[in-house]
């Protein structure tokens, strides 16, 4: 899910949807803007290890809503660079150790706001970031570790290829070996797991397909088999789950739907019902306008998306909810690249 591109798709309208299932952009923009002003909440401090990812998800959401300037660009760049370590990698926040996950987020953020040059100007250089990532490849198997302690996961493999392609440094790693490794993670249902032998999981399928897309080897996928398994992730309420017999969730709606899009099978699920499900997961201040006592503080709580209807919203599900809607050509949203 690197970058949004191009103008919003025209076409289908949401006119047939009932009022509560409309998308109103402004509350969601305000919700994201409010996130960094919540220092009086314990949760803010308990989630410091996700700060850089949070920024990425927030920006992704804002770009999808056509409001890329809703967060100050300079501050964003300063914060990202303040997370960088001497070895080129990035931590989740200043003082947090470098890790693949946050290094990828950093590169994605800088790419999204067209600021990769800042790595040369004020950071430690593009090449050092690339070599940090490349250094985490397991030269024997082709997969990637998250950090020096060696946890391996196809999430890191995808992240590495994604960031390196944004940095134009794919040559720094052995792409063929990485591709072979993904193939070795395939299962009888056509899906992929975190490592060879691991059960298929929609999040992992997304990372493997996206990595194969970046490596231009999507031809290696058993498209029909995987498409059937993925399409069965849609449950009665329209939402999608991550594995058989699990509950639906907005974030899985994104992993599954974008995976289906990457293998050309998005039409194998019911897009309208999925849209309705995602919209039911949003909190939108419009519905609470009647209440007289909404002060500014509460107002910031009146936006965003949750994992499923009635749950707490968070920036992660907000980004992927909007990503899902964009994938399904929702009007008023920018088009998203499934990778």
């Amino acid at each position: 899910m690197s970058l949004v591109s191009g103008p919003g798709r025209a076409g289908e309208t949401s006119g047939s949807l009932p009022d509560e299932l409309q998308l109103t952009i402004e509350p969601h923009v305000r919700y994201i803007q409010s996130l960094d002003s919540r220092r009086d909440e314990l949760e803010y401090w308990l989630t410091e290890h996700l700060r850089l990812n949070g920024l990425y998800w927030g920006l992704m959401a804002l770009h999808l809503m056509g409001r890329p300037d809703a967060l100050p660009r300079d501050e964003t760049i300063n914060f990202v660079l303040s997370c960088q370590h001497e070895n080129g990698g990035f931590g989740a926040a200043p003082g947090h150790d470098a890790h693949m996950l946050y290094t990828v987020s950093a590169v994605q953020i800088l790419a999204m706001i067209d600021a990769l040059d800042e790595l040369e100007r004020r950071g430690k250089g593009r090449a050092l970031v690339g070599s940090y990532i490349a250094g985490l490849q397991n030269t024997r198997t082709g997969t990637f570790a998250g950090d020096e302690f060696g946890e391996e996961d196809t999430r890191f493999l995808y992240g590495a290829l994604n960031a390196l392609s944004l940095l134009h440094m794919m040559d720094a790693v052995n792409v063929n070996k990485a591709v072979d490794y993904i193939v070795s993670c395939a299962n009888f249902d056509g899906g992929y797991g975190v490592s060879p032998g691991a059960e298929s999981h929609s999040g992992q399928i997304f990372t493997c397909l996206a990595a194969l897309s970046i490596a231009k080897r999507i031809d290696l996928v058993d498209v029909d088999k995987l498409g059937r398994w993925l399409s069965e992730r849609q449950v009665e309420c329209g939402g999608l789950n991550g594995r058989p017999e699990k509950a639906e969730d907005v974030c899985y709606s994104w992993w599954v739907a974008s995976s289906l899009a990457m293998i050309g099978r998005l039409h194998w699920i019911d897009g309208d019902k999925l849209k309705e499900f995602i919209l039911r997961c949003q909190v939108c201040s419009v519905s609470a306008d009647n209440s007289t006592e909404i002060n500014a503080r509460q107002d910031t709580k009146m936006g965003g998306f949750a994992d499923r209807p009635g749950d707490m919203v968070d920036v992660f599900h907000t980004a992927f909810g909007l990503g899902g809607l964009s994938l399904l050509s929702f009007p008023d949203l920018e088009e998203v690249d499934p990778v």
Binding site: D40, E41, L42, E43, W45, L46, T47, E48, H49, L50, N53, G54, G91, A92, D97, H99, D147, F149, G150, E151, F188, D189, V194, S195, G197, A198, E199, S200, H201, G227, W229, E232, G238, R243, P244, E245, K246, D249, C251, H267, W268, I269, D270, K273, V283, A288, S291, I294, Q298, K301, A306, D307, R308, G310, D311, M312, V313, D314, V315, F316
Partner: protein
């Protein structure tokens, strides 16, 4: 920040003054704890601070790393293979409980830690063993409370790796073996826990490795999947694991063609029983499809019965189709049955390299119509299937 299953309060309430003050204090306490837990020295005191902080917030991955460094460079008794940290440690005070770092203890025996200090940590069996044991015990309640936290599982694996590298094989092996009990408990609590199944796979791989004096555990692990599947017939994780063990199992048993065929039939029986119990068990249907794939793949490529001839395969597929048809009785509303019938019948044409017979084509069209009716969510899939029929 990524919350799952946390219900939203039904009404928006302003926090009262008391709640606000409490949150303010909690934040202050938490931030103080974070500030205290700096890597200023590799001491037991700091280790305890990390314990406190991680118990509050096990997602704080950097603190797990701090803990690794504390053990590696400070608290373990033997020097590690990995290079020592380049950073200079600030000199530690005389009164604290610092255990001399491994760099010191290995470079000069004259600087050996006084026994009185050492004994606070080591007991009889040595610092490393005690440190690892204590840490493994520290993690258990955290795993129970946060069974989906990647960092805890990873840290635990790292600890066990340290045991393998630093302790006698027998002792290390006993530790790894104990993990099977722990992960068994975790999987009883949540039989689909993704981390639990992955962890089990890693533990088994280590226990099988020559470094731990191991041998194959494929038979007992296969039995474990049978047990887990019997306890819950829709446990896709158990069936997945089964599919991964089968090739190895048959090779190790040196099964001949006859034994392989019997094995396949047993698997079909097992899954048929589950499907007769609940025809809507999608996990069982996916596994059924996997077993069918074994028949439908080219000779020598299939994993279970590689030497079965094309004629034998055809006959077996036809038999399976008949079995599935019988399930329709009383379950006419079950889309999975139509789905299997359709898929397997079409695969049979491919296997026999022929066009469909007219009655088969008629059947398929009827089944497809049922699928359209019963499963409108996936109508795009049915549209594509219909296009395939038009080719005939």
């Amino acid at each position: 920040m990524a919350s799952h299953g946390v219900p939203r309060p039904s009404t928006i309430t302003t926090k009262d003054e008391q709640a606000r003050l409490k949150e303010e204090k909690d934040i202050k306490d938490y931030k103080t704890l974070v500030d205290l837990t700096s890597e200023r020295e590799y001491s037991l005191e700091v280790l305890e601070l990390t314990s406190k902080l991680l118990t509050k917030n096990p997602e704080y991955y950097t603190i797990w790393n701090v803990r690794r460094r504390l053990l590696t460079y400070g608290l373990f008794s033997k020097p590690s293979d990995s290079s020592l940290p380049s950073m200079e440690l600030p000199s530690t005070s005389q009164t604290d409980t610092t255990i001399t770092s491994s760099a010191d203890s290995s470079s000069s025996s004259s600087q050996a830690t006084p026994p009185s200090q050492n004994s606070r940590m080591t007991g009889k069996t040595g610092t490393t063993l005690e440190a690892i044991k204590n840490d493994l015990a520290f993690l258990v309640p955290l795993l129970m409370g946060w069974p989906k936290c990647y960092w805890i599982w990873n840290y635990r694996l790292w600890l066990l790796q340290q045991a393998k590298e630093r302790l006698d094989m027998e002792i290390a092996r006993a530790m790894w073996t104990q993990e099977l009990g722990l992960v068994g408990k975790m999987l009883t609590r949540d039989n689909r826990n993704f981390h639990g199944w992955g962890y089990r796979r890693k533990i088994v791989a280590e226990l099988e490795s020559p470094e731990l004096g191991g041998s194959s555990m494929v038979e007992t692990e296969f039995e474990y999947t049978t047990k887990m599947f019997s306890a819950s017939l829709s446990n896709f994780s158990a069936l997945h694991t089964r599919s991964k063990l089968i090739p190895k199992l048959l090779n190790e048993r040196r099964s001949d063609d006859g034994a392989r065929l019997r094995f396949l039939t047993n698997e079909f029986d097992l899954i048929a029983k589950a499907l007769w119990t609940d025809a809507y068990n999608q996990s069982a249907w996916f596994y059924h499809e996997y077993l069918m794939t074994n028949l439908l793949e080219p000779v020598r490529q299939s994993t279970i019965t590689p030497n079965m001839s094309s004629t034998e395969r055809s006959a077996y597929v036809v038999l399976q189709i008949e079995n599935v048809k019988e399930m329709l009785e009383g379950e006419e509303e079950c889309k999975w049955i139509y789905n299997a019938l359709l898929g397997n019948t079409m695969a049979l044409w491919q296997l026999e390299e022929r066009s469909p017979m007219s009655d088969e084509l008629q059947d398929c069209k009827t089944w497809l119509a049922e699928l359209r009716k019963l499963d409108p969510l996936r109508r795009g899939r049915w549209d594509d299937l219909e296009k395939e029929f038009r080719g005939f």
